[in-house]
Amino acid sequence: MHRYPYLFLFIFLLVHCINIYAQDESEICFECHGDRTLITEKNGKEVSLFVNSNRFKKSVHADIGCISCHQDVNLDDLPHNENLAKVDCSICHEQAVTHFDRSLHGAALRQGKYLAPTCASCHGKHDILSSTNQNAKTYVMNIPSLCGNCHKEGTPVSKLVSVKERHVLEDYTESIHGDGLFRRGLIVTAVCTSCHSSHDILPHENPESTINRNNIANTCTQCHRQIESVHQKVIKGELWEKEPHKIPVCVDCHPPHQVRRVFYEESFPDKLCLSCHSNKSLQKTVNGKRISIFVDQDELSHSAHGTNPCIKCHTNISNSRNPVCLNSGKVDCSICHPQLQTEYNSSRHGTLHSAGDSNAPYCTDCHGNHNTLPKTDLTSPIFSRNIPDLCGKCHREGEKAAVRYKGPEHEIIKNYTMSIHGKGLLQSGLMVTATCIDCHTSHSELPFKDPRSSVNSNNIAATCGTCHLGIYEEFKNSIHSPSVTKTDEKLPVCNDCHFSHTIERVDEDDFRQGILSQCGRCHMDVTETYFDTFHGKVSKLGSVKTAKCYDCHGSHNILPTYNPRSTLSRENVINTCKRCHPNSNRKFVGYLTHATHHDKDKYPFLFYTFWFMTFLLVGTFSFFGIHTLLWLPRALKEKRNEKKKKQTYWKN
């Protein structure tokens, strides 16, 4: 402005001149139209052409004069033509008129419906007042009665079939908004136009409508900013912006026109739902099957969702349907449990389910529906002790999940029941024992081959470590840990020695005997030589207490013998042997536990001893073998001779 002082001055003078001119020309118009008796005949009716100059001079249009609107009047050629064109408000109010034109009101007007309002119906003609003027029909306090002129109960408009909302004005007056407006004089309260907009009034089915399901939240939040934070208890706040379709819209709970403080009872109250769903014989047909849709109110009230209103889960309810819940679809649990839903969606169960696999379990298959119970409830299917049975429904041998499973694990439930975890849980009643979900997770279970799986080789140690932390920490520093040993070969993890579902106590005979083949899978040569020495030989005969790999090498803390912390380091080996041989000493620990007499370079003493003994044996047996072989034919011959002699003796 400071840069263009002359331009500013010019515009100011121009506007001022128009005003002066306008007032002048209005005076000309009022010379005729100021006459109260000025009439004309239109369609056989007498129509007054009087314009109240006082009112006009108070109107918002006082300054622009008559000609600005009635542009087809030529002041130089008066009196003007009687049939003037209709005033086009869009000359100045382009947007408002555009909105009006596409609105319900505009459409009705175009169709020539006699009830359809025009601009003037609401704004008046020559006496248009600013909406900020308390006397204006469009002043906020007057809006309800303005709209009510047509929309209150009993008017021709309210009787139209297409209008479903009834008693709108009465309801509004009783509503919290109406209460604010009329009783408290709160002019920031919502009136009709706050929600429906003033000109762009569209039916709620129209996606552009301010009261469309998808827009209503936006509309309401014009005033009720950050209402989502208040609603967190009811609806997960973050969904409002990200996934608004997942939440019920404002009007589902706060019915339009009737918005109250105590709302549920007034909108879709549980009472309404139960009026049908408490009927035990209520059924619906899905894919040709009859399904009960009876809701056990007692069960529901004792469930984890007992205090939730129906509509909190069954969001897709609409007054436009009859019944309101018709085809409302599956409940979307992610409305309140978005994290779990995300996990589930990426899990094996979730991906199969979304691929349309009928065997794949959905939330309700594990959690139930109206009877869902928290995992702390002893009778809940997701209570620790009930988990094996729950998973067993599909994963027990012969059931639908087990049948399609092609991996190495079989008899999962049976094996688990006999395992140390299963016994702990089911026999000892130890509720901290690992169940299916402790290893596989509850919602993000994946096949072990999947690198994201909790039971993948790379993750299983950490998974076990959630309970067996101390062991996990030992293991992490042992030679088997990938952080200690860098190798391309597969390093052992928990289940390579302990197995998964058959995991048992490590002091059980089977485990102690089995470990030899477990270690032997990778350490073949030392296992073979172990079996050449006393410990191994006795183990093969079934000795359980005889030293096994881990009795000497340690189990989770295995370290190379040159590491001073190793159980077999020079410092520790005597004590390690002492656990079984109390009189172990420095010389004693020199016993070669993995000796073989086949290695001449490593164990020359054993090698030569063995071969000496072998030669001794071979020599002795060769000598006497020949001796016997020579003796046998001679002795047989002598025996025959003797027999012959005897026979001849008896003959003679």
């Binding site: 005969l541 010389k587 003994m613 044996l617």
Partner: protein, 285 residues
Amino acid sequence: MANNTHSTHNKKYIERFDSFSRFLHLLVIISFLSLAITGMVIKFSGVGVFQTLSKLMGGYEVTGFIHRFAAVITFIYFTMHIGYLIRKRKKRGIPFKAMLKGENSLVPNKKDLIEFGQTMKWFLGIGPRPEYGRWTYWEKFDYFAVFWGVMVIGCSGLLLWFPEFFTSLGIPGWFINVATIIHSDEALLAVGFIFTVHFFNTHFRPDKFPMDPVIFTGSVTIEEMKKDRPREYTLLKESGELEKKMVEPPSPLLEKAARIFGFTALSIGLLIIILIIYSMIFYYK
């Protein structure tokens, strides 16, 4: 003898083994068979049949106990035998050297070498059967095989039994490994030798087949002695001791018991040797 028991009553019997020696041999048989089975079980612990055998006997703990118990019996009979030799020397009042060099000594001498040569000729059909005395050279070998075996296997066995004690005396740990090989292979030699060579030489050779019960009955007929050990017979007859050595024939009950026990022992021995050969062929490394 074995095949004409019906006529024993008409024959004259000469004592070959006194009751003490027979008792000792009984101990030897029992302990040796026990040691052999329980030892082979661990030597061939990788072979299923021996694992089964171990289980049948009550597991490795029981076999271990039997093995050590039989070892104690072995040490006992070994000591008893030494004591027997000492007592015998005292009784006869001659120095040890003379006893060892005597005609009835089990110590091999020049005569055995000659007899071995003669035997070879006899085997090949170019000479008569040698005039064997009280002990043939193979019997002397048998005797010393046991003597040697008990020493070697016994000593290495003690080392394995008490490794902590022996290593505390300064024996290096690896020597236990050496002792294991010696103990095990020497035992294989002993078992293999007794159950094949000794069995053939003494029992299965055609003139004694299927067994010679003399070690249990203790006596042989004069005819058999004349045929088997002509020199002993001649020497006894010449010295006039033959009459002194005459004994009553063994009772039928003893004969029967001898046969039952003998066959049992032989069968066990043969069974062990079959198992060993089977394991050696299919499993031994």
